[in-house]
């Protein structure tokens, strides 16, 4: 990795990583923190980007993709991790992989009290469902940690999640 790499453009670096690691399907429920990565994925004809109505659809999508021989990644907000809980049973029962890139709300600097309960629960809830969780709060950590997350998912056949903290994303201010 070149020393002068612009860590600030981690969405582009994540997009490049998904391509390098052979991800073919990307399930998406939008979050502001994923705006750029979603845009890059949707413009890439080699990726099948599937817009979902709820994040749990993405977990089932990932199982189907793996049954068909394809790797799937999911882009979601931390609230959406809560929507995935029971569906994650399928991946645990089947030893099937998915990589979840989760943009955080309800952590560092949060403005909206309604985001805090799920924000605080994301990590224990995902862990309880057998997901391997790691967390990035600094731009220079995003790519190495995402690489590790993808490797755990597809080499050890389980769901793995990388939480992207608001320290990294910038907390939403509700001033614009």
């Amino acid at each position: 990795m070149p020393m002068n790499e612009n860590h600030k453009d981690w969405p582009r670096a994540l997009y490049d990583l998904l391509g390098r690691e052979g991800i073919r399907q990307v399930g998406v429920v939008p979050d502001a923190g994923h705006m750029e990565l979603i845009r890059l994925c949707e413009r890439d004809a080699a990726l099948r980007t599937v817009r979902l109505t709820t994040e749990e659809e993405g977990v089932a999508l990932a199982l189907g993709a793996w049954l068909g021989g394809e790797k799937c990644a999911l882009l979601m907000q931390s609230s959406g991790a809560g929507n995935c809980v029971n569906m994650l049973s399928m991946l645990a029962a089947c030893q099937a992989p998915v990589a979840m890139l989760v943009t955080m709300r309800g952590d560092h600097g949060e403005f909206n009290p309604w985001q805090m309960p799920m924000g605080k629960a994301v990590e224990p809830v995902l862990e309880a469902m057998g997901v391997a969780v790691s967390r990035a709060d600094r731009a220079e950590d995003v790519v190495p940690l995402a690489e590790g997350t993808l490797r755990i998912a597809f080499n050890t056949l389980r769901p793995a999640a990388l939480l992207l903290g608001q320290r990294l994303l910038g907390a939403k201010t509700f001033k614009e």
Partner: protein, 203 residues
Amino acid sequence: MAADRSRDERLPRRAVVQALLAGRGELLVVAGLGAPAWDAAAAGDHPLTFPLWGGMGGAAMVGLGLALAQPSRRVLVLTGDGEMLMGLGALATIGVARPANLAVVVLDNERYGETGMQETHTAAGVDLAAVAAACGLREAATVRTMAEVGRLRERVHADAGPLFAAVKVAPGKPPLVLPPRDGAHLKNRFREALLGTQAYCQT
């Protein structure tokens, strides 16, 4: 009274599934949890049938992921009305993704059969075929006769999808026929049958 008569004429679910899976050839099948999975097993356990034992509400989306990964194969999701109602958003997602090789067939007994035959919303008139049609699935239809089931079987193998049908079936409980239940085994046998032994070496 007409409604009562049509109730009496509801189709036997095992015969419906038997007919849909007859001469299945290259078809890939995902069966929703509970009775649809038992129906698929009764029609003959098969490595390219993936029966779900959980994940209620996820069957159609498993079918979508599979259909997108295997565009040259036909994929049939067989599931229950209760299971479909839990994940109605999947119909909108499938309608937007437009996989030409996916068919979703709901075995609609208007009941949660597995848990004591409680009525589902379809018993109160919620029309799954109309929902699917509004989501952009093709020829979304309610099927009430074995002749229509025969035509549906042809469409599942040949027509451009995504297809949807709700087959009105009798709320009876045929004898249990259970498929294997170890998820890792079901996944491995499916992937090996589809991808060969490289299924175990995917990096």
